[in-house]
């Protein structure tokens, strides 16, 4: 009688330890996802900060590009207002392509090349875009690992109980991703 009780107790203890291990594993991976997301977010914020400065500097030279400036400002506000990861990804994708469009248009103003302020801003923006792109691939990798972790059996049972949810990838349209960190001036 006592032995049976002890065996049952032993099994319960082992089960609890097993569940704790699964739970801790999922928590660790979720924290990594959060950390990598913050790394992207820092760079996105940096880009939002740089854009008004750039437009301010360029305005005086490129008077014919008002339309582009307005569009970029609009996309910027949209990106800043975006809540979820996929919304942010989509809005920032738009912003990136608008910025590379501006870059091409600014080629027509050789005077800008002599403006150190402009050159510094361009460098910062280029670097920030590279950083976003590099952080993005790391983020997507850890999100994929995390999603796999919480979807496989039997983890999915506990993921349901403890409320672990799938995370979205930070995906930008394929055309954008292909031309990734190539930025030149």
């Amino acid at each position: 009688m006592l032995t049976t009780l002890l065996i049952i107790l032993g099994i319960i203890v082992l089960l609890v330890i097993w569940i704790i291990a699964i739970y801790n594993g999922m928590v660790k991976m979720r924290n990594t996802v959060d950390k990598e997301w913050r790394n992207i977010d820092v760079q996105l914020e940096r880009r939002y900060d740089l854009i008004p400065n750039l437009i301010e500097t360029v305005k005086g030279y490129a008077k014919h590009e008002q339309e582009t400036f307005a569009r970029i400002t609009e996309y910027r506000s949209a990106a800043m207002g975006a809540k979820t990861v996929s919304e942010k990804a989509a809005a920032n994708g738009q912003l990136s392509s608008a910025l590379s469009g501006l870059r091409v248009q600014l080629e027509a103003y050789p005077d800008l090349k002599a403006n150190t302020n402009f050159l510094n801003l361009q460098e910062e923006l280029a670097s920030t875009e590279n950083k976003i792109s590099f952080s993005r691939s790391i983020y997507n990798e850890v999100v994929t690992n995390y999603n796999n972790k919480i979807q496989i059996f039997p983890n999915n049972i506990f993921a349901g109980i403890f409320n672990f949810k799938n995370r979205d990838l930070f995906e930008i349209s394929t055309q954008e991703a292909k031309s990734a960190p190539k930025v030149s001036f």
């Binding site: 790394n39 280029a126 590279n130 590099f134 691939s137 790391i138 960190p181 001036f185």
Partner: protein, 334 residues
């Protein structure tokens, strides 16, 4: 990619142990020859070999990071000194997940770049002004990614160990050969007289042993050197592969290497650091060797130019295999 680092580290230890065994047997055999028919000779030889090795390791650990500080024309740069360069390294530290290394610029028209530091937390990347001025932003990114790859793959420590081991083998062999010329006469005379009583057989055996030892003392450094340089060359291909994996831009690395291949200025960052350069530094003529720390730059360019199917590590190894006609780079599971 992480399984590759583990693979590299495992191989590093194998090489480390292999060279250690070679070193110890070299010491043991030499000890045996100088004090034949006595185990103390073997023990003394092994002991001396290990002591030389420990001292060399110690010096390397103490002096490793100081190599760059001893370069009169090297200067640590901050964000304000060179924003573009600093930004590029920062981007790569994000891409590789490595801590931000110190960035140095070396004032010389030579075109080169290197990495140093025994662990990723205390590492340094450096580029010469000659190279800095000639490259576009993407090309600098490619070159610095190659250097960060040496840190990422833990090549600095590995090649330093290998270089210490090589240095020790060279020293012991030199000691052995020299003492045979200067002191060998007396030791063979005294042992000759002691074995004289036993008859001529011992003398012939002695001569045979002596021949073997001389051959060993001459061959060991040559073999060790060949081994070291072949390791170094493989590390270069691996650093190219890792670099492209980070930047996804093989073309820029190929373009940068093409510009670098036109370099004709003497640049000597020291023996240990030479293996970490982007290309073989052009050292003074009398120091040139048949062996080289770096593979032919044209081969490296050809591989990078042929990478049309992708930029991940395994694409590189496939292209490498088809161009080199051999498939001897480690595989990644991912």
């Amino acid at each position: 990619m992480y399984d590759l680092i583990k693979n590299n580290q495992r191989k590093s230890w194998l090489v480390f142990i292999g060279m250690g065994l070679l070193l110890i047997s070299l010491g043991g055999i030499l000890g045996y020859v100088f004090m034949p028919y006595d185990y103390q000779g073997v023990i003394t030889g092994v002991f001396i070999a290990i002591i030389i090795w420990v001292i060399q390791t110690f010096i390397a650990f103490l002096g490793g990071d100081k190599i760059i500080l001893n370069m009169a024309n090297a200067k640590a740069i901050s964000y304000d000194d060179d924003r573009e360069l600093y930004n590029i390294v920062e981007e790569l530290s994000i891409a590789s997940g490595l801590p931000m290394p110190k960035v140095y610029v070396i004032e010389t028209p030579a075109m080169n770049a290197f990495a140093t530091g025994m662990n990723p937390k205390k590492s340094i990347v450096a580029i010469t002004t000659g190279l800095r001025e000639r490259l576009t932003r993407q090309e600098i990114q490619a070159v610095m990614a190659h250097e960060m790859s040496h840190i990422y793959n833990r090549d600095v420590r590995f090649m330093t160990f290998a270089s210490i081991m090589l240095g020790t083998i060279v020293i012991i062999s030199e000691i052995a050969l020299r003492s045979m010329v200067w002191g060998g006469g007396s030791s063979s005379r005294s042992s000759g007289s002691s074995s004289g009583g036993k008859g001529g057989g011992g003398g012939i055996a002695q001569i045979l042993v002596l021949v073997v030892v001389v051959a060993l003392a001459i061959l060991a450094p040559i073999l060790a050197r060949m081994f070291y340089f072949s390791l170094s060359r493989k590390r270069e291909y691996l650093a190219d592969a890792t670099s492209v994996n980070f930047t996804r831009d093989p073309v820029s690395l190929a373009n940068a290497l093409e510009k670098i291949s036109g370099d004709n200025v003497v640049f000597d960052p020291g023996k240990m650091t030479a293996a970490m350069c982007i290309n073989k530094p052009r050292i003074k003529e009398h120091k040139e060797n048949l062996t080289s720390t770096h593979p032919p730059i044209q081969k490296r360019i050809a591989i990078l130019r042929a990478m049309s199917m992708g930029t991940d590590y395994n694409t590189y190894t496939k292209v490498y295999a088809s161009i080199m006609g051999k498939d001897d780079l480690p595989k990644s599971k991912k």
